[in-house]
């Protein structure tokens, strides 16, 4: 094992918090050879990022390595002094972070930031450093690098910022690169470009890489070896193929099952025994809409312009029948969120017509729509379960709010009963109703958000990336819940998401948006299996798939 670049031996990391000591990493052991690419996979709270920060000694002040060793090139680095560690930072090991825009200094030109990283380890003039920075920008394939040298992070896209971050990290040719969720929050196509670039550079320069991610598919696509962590422990280590074909540990099995793939169905996402206390499904068989009756929602030639810019949404038409589920996919900036907000009447369209059950609602200003009788028929589930709940409201208040405002109920036993019934339907324990959002987990908050949206028994639910902020295992449960609610109430869904695998499972039909235009639409599975336009094909191919055949046998 002398050849390995990095060795972790029984690493423990403890954080001192207000509620006492919390062990974030409890005994992690693995090793990494020079030039190897290792995937470190786990859900939030698994300690995967903390492990990465412990290796590079970038833990918060509250975190401490309490036991174990980290050996880098055979040298024990857990105890060496901070000033000596500075010479390792950047020169021997570097990190790439999640949220690339936040990771760059907002008031310093990116060229200067890269030059800073270079001069930190090499003796050279500022001009030489800037020349090297320019070379690096070229190496990470930034278009027009001379111009971008003087750009500030806010002038660049997220993908561009991540390339700058990569340029900074590789500026002094470190032997070890730790990428902490490098593409989370980026579009699938950007994700593919950035990951291809990263692996290409690492291979070319012989850098060992640890890819920390929550996305099993991503790890499987780019890493030879994957390590799975759960609650600070390492539960399984294997080649990705083996991991998906025959996961050994119960947690890995659950994780593999919950990761949506091209062929997975909603029912497969969660093992039967873990479905929880769901009420048995009472499915009302969907009757075909009687002829002559207008569709639930009909949108015609919608256009939205912001200020003088190009149209964010152009010529958008669609319809949804009762009980139908329609997906809206596209990259960021494609106008999918704008469209969904116009449809649920939170913002006004510049042109176009929206009809709900044949009655025009497009002309009602968004400001006054809360007084419309249709408000309670069209409800929305927001992307961020935390930010979309009032921090001063308990779960009960949150769910009761639409009932008070829209259904005209008065505070009292009837209201309480109705709220409890809603909570029950979304699988939220009654005892949790008195809690405030910060006392709930991400999945529980998502359930509160859903309960609030269905409280008034809407006919159309607009879901704006409802599971984007959730772990895959929680996402699996929430998706199942949504699907069940839809069938029980004959709800129609407009499901906005960037995750094609999720849309494929959840939606009967899917609409693909690009730059505000519809590029393709059709029956979900057929369209994704056989995309007709180049853009859709690009989207589909960018999704890191776990080999479908393997995934099926794994469940």
């Amino acid at each position: 094992m002398t050849s390995s670049l990095l060795e972790l031996n029984d690493l423990h990391v403890t954080f001192s918090t207000r509620r006492g000591l919390v062990e974030a990493v409890r005994g992690v052991t693995f090793s990494l050879g020079a030039g190897e690419m290792l995937g470190l996979v786990g859900e939030s709270g698994s300690g995967k990022s903390v492990t990465g920060f412990a290796i590079t000694r970038l833990l918060d002040a509250a975190g401490r390595i309490t036991a174990g060793q980290i050996r880098f090139r055979g040298q024990e680095i857990t105890r060496i002094a901070g000033s000596d560690f500075r010479h390792l930072h950047g020169a021997a090991m570097a990190m790439i972070f999640q949220n690339p825009r936040g990771a760059l200094n907002p008031i310093r030109a990116v060229g200067d930031q890269i030059a800073d990283a270079i001069t930190a380890h090499k003796r050279m003039s500022r001009d030489q450093a800037r020349a090297q920075a320019l070379e690096l920008l070229r190496a990470v394939q930034i278009r027009d690098p001379e111009k971008r040298m003087a750009a500030y992070p806010h002038e660049l896209s997220g993908g561009m910022c991540q390339r700058v971050m990569i340029a900074m990290a590789i500026s002094c040719n470190p032997a070890l690169l730790i990428a902490d969720e490098p593409t989370t929050g980026l579009d699938v196509t950007t994700q593919k470009i950035v990951m291809d670039l990263l692996t290409g550079i690492a291979a070319e320069r012989g850098m060992a890489t640890i890819l920390i991610t929550h996305d099993l598919g991503l790890a499987a696509r780019y890493c030879r070896r994957v390590v799975v962590m759960e609650q600070g422990r390492l539960v399984e280590e294997a080649e990705p193929k083996k991991l998906f074909r025959a996961p050994q540990h119960a947690y890995t099995k659950r994780l593999v099952a919950a990761s949506p793939t091209a062929t997975s169905r909603i029912a497969d996402l969660v093992p039967k025994e873990e479905m929880g206390r769901a009420i048995p499904i009472k499915i009302t068989p969907r009757s075909p809409p009687p002829p002559g009756r207008p569709p639930l929602l009909e949108v015609q030639r919608l256009v939205k312009r912001f200020d003088q810019g190009a149209a964010a949404v152009a010529d958008f038409s669609m319809m949804i029948n009762a009980g139908e589920s329609v997906g809206l996919v596209g990259e960021s900036g494609s106008g999918k969120s704008t469209t969904s907000r116009i449809i649920c009447r939170l913002i006004d369209a510049s042109e176009g017509e929206i009809a709900f059950e044949g009655q025009s609602i497009g002309h009602i200003p968004a400001r006054d729509f809360h007084r419309s009788p249709f408000r309670k028929d069209i409800q929305i589930v927001f992307q961020d379960p935390t930010d979309s709940l009032n921090p001063r409201y308990t779960a009960l208040d949150c769910i009761a709010h639409p009932l008070l405002r829209l259904a005209g109920m008065r505070p009292g036993d009837a209201l309480r009963q109705r709220v409890e019934e809603c909570a029950q339907r979304v699988g939220l324990g009654i005892e949790l109703l008195t809690r405030f959002p910060h006392q709930l987990s991400g999945g529980q908050k998502a359930r509160v958000g859903i309960a609030r949206a269905i409280a008034c028994r809407p006919r159309l639910l607009v879901l704006d990336e409802p599971t984007a902020a959730l772990d895959v295992s929680v996402q699996a449960v929430v998706l199942q819940l949504l699907d069940r609610l839809r069938r029980e109430d004959d709800l129609a869904f407009l499901f906005v998401s960037h995750d094609l695998n999720v849309v494929r499972m959840m939606c009967d039909r899917t609409i693909v948006l690009q730059n505000g235009h519809i590029v393709e639409q059709g029956e979900s599975r057929a369209m994704f299996d056989n995309p007709q336009t180049a853009y859709t094909r690009e989207l589909v191919e960018a999704v890191p798939h776990i080999e479908p055949k393997l995934a099926v046998s794994a469940t």
């Binding site: 970038l58 936040g102 800073d116 930190a120 900074m168």
Partner: protein, 335 residues
């Protein structure tokens, strides 16, 4: 261009201030005519005559119109106290106040920013607590107390400072007036002894005022420095191995200084208007003590002129802060 538009957009506010102070002065008790009559026993006719002479017998709206017309033509009226034009009085006294305030702000910034930075670098440490104690002391001791204390120690006990009697020794010769700022005028005249004398007069009142405003500046520096040090980009800077000072100064402090600029602007405007006590304690011939004297003797014109001046200074300082902010932060455009 944009700065000009910003200035224009604040003119209505200035106009509002103008009208408001005018009305306020009319509502306040006290009759200037009585005050300026020759003696306590002067007859009714005499008072009436003065009133007529001052235009106080006309209805208030008409008085306002006259006043606005005068202000528009650059005439702020005549002070009954000094017998001079208010504009002349203010022009003589404003540099004294500005010089004092600028020096005090400079002292406060130079001491508050490092204090805040050191406190933020070691939160919860002895330094942090020391800074907090010092700040608390600075705010809770009124300026006239700290001013008198400083005089007692440095003038009476140690004899280091000159007597607190204004900007220069009465017998010293003044430099030719160019900017009105004595330190600059002495320098321009090449009179270094005079400069030193003026500086010695200035330092105690400036310190007194600085003590009072160190607290908000140091606290805001500490708070924004803590945020900045905990941010992702500082972590990035550390992850590529930048030297310690570069992380702290170029990455953390340069970002943390943005809110400090805003607070410094507010502090400056407050200091300029509210340093009456310091000016009184040190017999400083500034605008604030001038306005206070005028107010006590129901002398309308100087008070109105003073308020208008303060409002204008406030607008200009805010504009400067915005411009500075735009330079310091590329994300901000002045609009």
């Amino acid at each position: 261009m944009r700065a000009g538009r910003r200035f224009l957009s604040s003119l209505p506010a200035l106009f509002g201030v103008l009208v408001f102070t005018f009305l306020l002065m009319r509502v306040l008790p006290g009759d200037p005519a009585v005050f300026f009559a020759s003696g306590p026993n002067s007859g009714k006719e005499e008072i009436e005559a003065i009133r007529k002479q001052m235009g106080l017998d006309k209805p208030v709206p008409e008085q306002l119109m006259f006043y606005l017309y005068d202000v528009g033509s650059g005439n702020l009226g005549r002070s009954m106290m000094t017998g001079q034009l208010v504009t002349k009085d203010l022009r003589e006294r404003l540099p004294a106040s500005l010089e004092l305030t600028f020096t005090a702000l400079l002292i406060a910034l130079v001491s508050a920013v490092p204090l805040g930075v050191f406190a933020a670098l070691r939160p919860g440490s002895l330094i942090d607590h020391g800074v907090r104690f010092f700040c608390a002391l600075g705010v809770c001791v009124p300026t006239f107390v700290s001013g008198l204390l400083l005089i007692y120690v440095f003038y009476y006990l140690l004899g280091l400072a000159p007597d607190p009697s204004g900007r220069v020794d009465i017998f010293a010769s003044l430099p030719p007036r160019r900017t009105g700022f004595l330190l600059i005028d002495f320098l321009l005249a090449g009179d270094f002894d005079g400069w030193r004398a003026a500086f010695r007069q200035l330092i105690l009142p400036a310190l007194t005022m600085a003590l009072f405003v160190v607290a908000p500046l140091a606290r805001i520096t500490r708070a924004s420095m803590l945020v900045s040090l905990g941010s992702d980009f500082v972590r990035t800077a550390r992850s590529v191995g930048l030297p310690w000072w570069k992380v702290v100064v170029t990455y953390a402090l340069r970002n943390a200084i943005l809110p400090v600029i805003t607070i410094a602007g507010i502090v400056f405007s407050t200091m300029l208007g509210a340093n009456v006590l310091v000016e009184k304690v040190f017999s400083w011939p500034g605008v604030a003590s001038y306005a206070l004297d005028a107010l006590l003797s129901s002398d309308y014109a100087p008070v109105q002129g003073f308020v208008l001046l303060m409002a204008t200074v406030f607008v200009i300082v805010n504009l400067l802060v915005d411009i500075l902010y735009g330079i310091a932060d590329p994300r901000v455009t002045i609009g």
